[in-house]
Symmetry: none
Subunit: 243 residues, 2 copies
DNA sequence: TAGTGGTCTAGACCACGCA
DNA sequence: GCGTGGTCTAGACCACTAA
């Protein structure tokens, strides 16, 4: 029996060698790497391959290049983390903020979709959605009012009356085999509305940050349509912005 | 007198042509593009150049490729692009939203920094900052109230009484040699305050989205401390969130 | 097996930063 | 003017998909 050889591309090997070079020579931030011509020769590959390796490292922000000057090592291995651009469940967001996540269920209902849902979830005519409404808490305080909708057909059997999982992602993964891979979020400043006050007992005229999102799986199929209203007193929403 | 020719790379031109091809043939999601060999011939460039053009389009998530099958158009033709995670000047944001950018200067002053500025900009004791306050407009409508501060020492000579450039980035680049490479933004829902109403004539009790940012150069040196209050009626703030 | 994208080579010229 | 990275060509072989 033959074990499948995992062929690693030359450029990936070259990348590894360059990383080793940085380690061995203890290069720090802004230290210069050898020019491409030297790397070509020392690794015995073409310039194209060297440039591919460098491109990979540049993407990972381990190095940067300046035309006419050279290639340099970036300052420490990327300190930035945990901005909004990283997709995480609200449960994780609450935990990361240092609180104990909790959930108060408001309702689970089958509904006719809004026009926006039909478009964003690419629903067929007549298709309905199941909407989950929850109040998420952080160590007992109101953290977010969450309205999540999925197409009816992803849920086998009758509409559930209760869901155990804290995280919507977890529930959909375990029971429906759905994996959210990325999301497009629109950020809207807003205030508590009538419904939130009545159903969730939230304060009147409180500023909220609405994350209006559609979640997709790896094949770009839209899975979840969600409107999460966050309490800005508890959350700091950060975004790391790159050129 | 000679006007500077702006040379556009072949791959960028090829990218443009491929986009036009998609438009003209009304390609929708998952429709297949011609193979690379055909694109090479029809555009009269090498395969490398075609592949560079396709790589650009793939980065922007306009197309995707499957080895052995072909190149395809992504499902929403241009969904992701220009999210908040991409650092752009407000001028560019206004242009991208389809408006004509404008500026009304409110003030340029030298001030003592707030505690937050001292921390974020790593100021020395006694160091002052120069604060630029502007009202940015989009085709005449109020788009954003912008408060930008930089350390006094980056500005040579006296504090300017006026600045020509639309973009703060441009000004700092041209006159101070500073290049903002990335920023960390905190997003806060807020409302118009007294100062904005008095100085800029903004409406009372209007919801605003505050982008509280620190901009850094490539060496992670903090350059600009800014508080930009955006009119959410004009801007859609999107963030693309990845796992 | 044919057709597609993925990787790689060898060589050329251009654009930029700096002394 | 030299050394650096940026762009481009021509050609080759490999890996994967589907008929």
């Amino acid at each position: 029996m033959k074990i499948k050889e995992k062929t690693v591309s030359l450029s990936t090997q070259a990348k590894k060698k360059i990383l080793e070079y940085i380690q061995e020579n203890e290069l720090k931030g802004d230290d210069q790497l050898p020019p491409e011509a030297v790397l070509m020769e020392s690794m015995g590959v073409s310039r194209h391959t060297v440039r591919e390796a460098l491109a990979l490292l540049e993407q990972e922000r381990i190095i940067y290049k300046i035309q006419g000057k050279g290639t340099f090592v970036s300052i420490p291995p990327v300190p930035i983390e945990g901005g909004l651009e990283k997709l995480e469940s609200i449960t994780r967001m609450i935990e990361n903020a240092g609180y104990e996540p909790g959930t108060r269920w408001i309702s689970i209902t089958e509904e006719n979709p809004s026009q926006s849902m039909v478009e964003k979830l690419a629903l067929q005519p007549g298709e309905t959605v199941v909407t989950f409404i929850r109040l998420r808490t952080a160590s007992g305080r109101v953290a977010a009012y969450c309205v999540d909708s999925v197409r009816r057909s992803v849920i086998q059997g009758p509409v559930p009356t209760a869901v155990m999982e804290e995280s919507m992602f977890e529930y959909l993964q375990k029971h429906c085999g759905l994996h959210a891979e990325y999301a497009v979020a629109e950020i809207v400043p807003t205030m508590t509305d009538q419904r939130m006050m009545e159903e969730a007992g939230m304060q009147k005229n409180q500023l909220l940050l609405l994350l209006h999102q559609v979640h997709y799986d790896r094949h770009r199929v839209p899975l979840i349509y969600s409107m999460d209203y966050f309490n800005p007193e508890l959350f700091k929403f950060r975004v790391n912005r790159m050129k």
